[in-house]
Amino acid sequence: MAVIHETPPPPAAAVQPRNSLGDRISRMLYARPKARLTGLLLLPLGWLGVLYIGSLILLFITAFWRTDSFTSKVIPAFTLENFIEIITVPAYQQTALRTIGIALAVTVLCAALALPLGLYMAKVASPKMRAALAIGITLPLWAGYLVKVFSWRITFSSGGPLDWLLAPLGLAGPGYGTAALIITLAYLWFPYMAVPVYNAFRQIPDSLFDASSDLGAKAWSTVWTVAVPLLKPAFVAGSIFTFSLSLGDYIAAQFVGGKTQVIGTVIASNINLNPPLAAAFGTVPILVVVLYLFLARKSGALKQL
């Protein structure tokens, strides 16, 4: 049996006692994880939790106030009138429902386009093509919101580019209206859907597709039974943007919506004249979005944004 170690130790290269400011801060921080966390959260929570949420609450409180009918000045006197009004006047309900419908349609349209595009980019395209397309779908994000809305306004104009393109087929564009609005919004927010879907597609191991076809599935049934369920979180993540951005938009509606009235239009047209009513109507998208986020969080999609 081996005999073990009996000679004395060589002088150990002892760690020098160090005491620079950084060291002292470090030692303090290292020992106190709670303090580190507090330090990290203090500023952001002050900003978002107090300033932002505080503002929303203040706005919410305004919704219970009245406006002087003549001067349209806000009078801080409690009333439920505004809420009663948005609940009882059919125009408000219709507008809210229409806007939600438009937002859903935009989301579905984006998802329907993102799926085959994602499939192509992630699983068919050559790496070069893939990179080019990845840039291709994100570039318009930077091109300016108004620029894009405006270009669609031109596109949908009567006798404009779309009519011109469709003329040989004996068709005409939809003209300004709800359809044009949905297309424009889908165009505006498409990258927010396409990028997560594409990334999620890339993360699905090829072996799952191989396995599916090995077990007898044809390409499209593989897409439906394997890809789509696995992409669900990405679709949900993308839809948070497509849905809530569509829900709040009113400038696009103004430009290509024809006479389509959306939630944003109503808020905007009341914000100066009757702020309490605008605030009350503003709670509609807040409720819808918060509910949507809540459901999305349940599906774990928030982590994928």
């Binding site: 191991p205 396995a211 076809s213 007898g216 599935a217 044809k218 696995l230």
Partner: protein, 354 residues
């Protein structure tokens, strides 16, 4: 030599399909400039447990993927039980695959995973449920039917992947390093189960691995791959005891490769000779060599205890270093570092390799 006991071949016990289950003729696969598999011929018999063994990047997976139909061949033909399937899609081939990463569908339960292939074939529900239950019984995991793959351990996942592939009763099952991701204990246990299941179902297994021990213990026959070529095909004993090339000799277990002076002393020619460390034993210096034995005087340089065996590094007068492996059984020698010894082994274990 104990050829008769060399492998636990099921082929002699099960009713086997006659002829070749799979036959590849001059199959080549190129990825752009790079040729991953070169002009390969390979015949695998029905009911065989056949392994593809080779280092990383040698083309094993590529061959398997071509057989399964995931990868089109560049040239050559692939036949399955005599039928040319070269241009068939995967879902048209009667082979199934167990993937290295198992490729279980994460959104489906174990039962849904296993029943996936049957569902695609529109098997009636009752029938499907019965067969899923049977398949889960076979891999001894009836209790996990309702779980998701993420709730299973590695070994369990491996078995579910197996059940999913076997439920379709393919003629050939392809397994791509199915045990690669498991830890040692689990791997050994799964090896035993795999072998048992293959015997039970009696279908052809094509098994890819880069672990030589695994290939040797499990297979009826093994093809050793190197650089997109097959170096040698044969039974485990063929390969281990009579390696045809230096590559095969070193890739399967450790070996002493001897050249020059010492090789001349041992075999009369100075071409490369391979001697397995476990063939050599230590004798007292000057012990005369028995009839038909090679004998070389040497000095013990290093001794490494590994538990069941002890490994000695011995240097000879010719300046070669030979490794000797002795089992720590009742007959183990008790040499110490620096001892002079005589290395002796039957001369028939001197193999020329190219």
């Amino acid at each position: 030599m104990r050829a008769s006991t060399a492998s636990l071949s099921p082929a002699t016990e099960e009713p086997a399909l006659s002829g070749d289950a799979i036959s590849l003729s001059s199959v080549t696969k190129s990825f752009g400039e790079f040729t991953a598999v070169k002009d390969l011929d390979l015949d695998i018999r029905s009911g065989e447990f056949f392994s593809l063994l080779g280092p990383s990047g040698s083309g094993k997976t590529t061959v398997l993927r071509m057989v399964a139909g995931f990868e089109p061949v560049t040239s050559g033909t692939i036949k399955l039980h005599g039928t040319d399937v070269t241009s068939k899609a995967p879902f048209e081939r009667d082979v199934n695959t167990v993937f290295q990463d198992y490729a279980l569908f994460p959104h489906l339960t174990v039962a849904q995973n296993v029943g996936y292939g049957l569902k695609l074939r529109k098997t009636p529900k009752a029938d499907r449920e019965r067969r899923v239950a049977e398949a889960l019984d076979m891999v001894r995991l009836p209790q996990v039917a309702g779980r998701l793959p993420s709730q299973l351990s590695g070994g369990q996942r491996q078995r579910i992947a197996l059940a999913r592939a076997l439920i379709l009763r393919p003629q050939v099952l392809l397994l791509d390093e199915p045990l690669g991701a498991l830890d040692k204990q689990l791997r050994e246990q799964m090896q035993i189960e795999l072998k048992q299941i293959q015997r039970e179902v009696g279908i052809t297994f094509i098994f890819v691995t880069h672990d030589q021990e695994e290939a040797l213990t499990l297979s009826d026959r093994v093809a050793v791959f190197n650089n997109g070529n097959i170096e040698q095909v044969g039974t485990p004993e063929d390969l281990y005891e009579r390696p045809a090339t230096r590559f095969v000799a070193t890739f399967l277990g450790s070996t002493n490769l001897v050249e020059g002076e010492l090789a001349r002393q041992l075999t009369g020619t100075d071409s490369l000779v391979s001697i397995r460390p476990e063939r050599i034993h230590l004798a007292a210096p000057g012990t005369p060599a028995p009839e038909g034995f090679s004998s070389v005087p040497a000095t013990i340089e290093e001794i490494v205890y590994t538990g069941p065996t002890t490994r000695y590094v011995a240097s000879t007068a010719t300046g070669d270093r030979l490794i000797v492996q002795e089992q720590n059984d009742s007959r183990a020698s008790a040499a110490s570092r620096g001892d002079a010894v005589e290395l002796q082994w039957p001369a028939r274990f001197n193999f020329h390799v190219s």
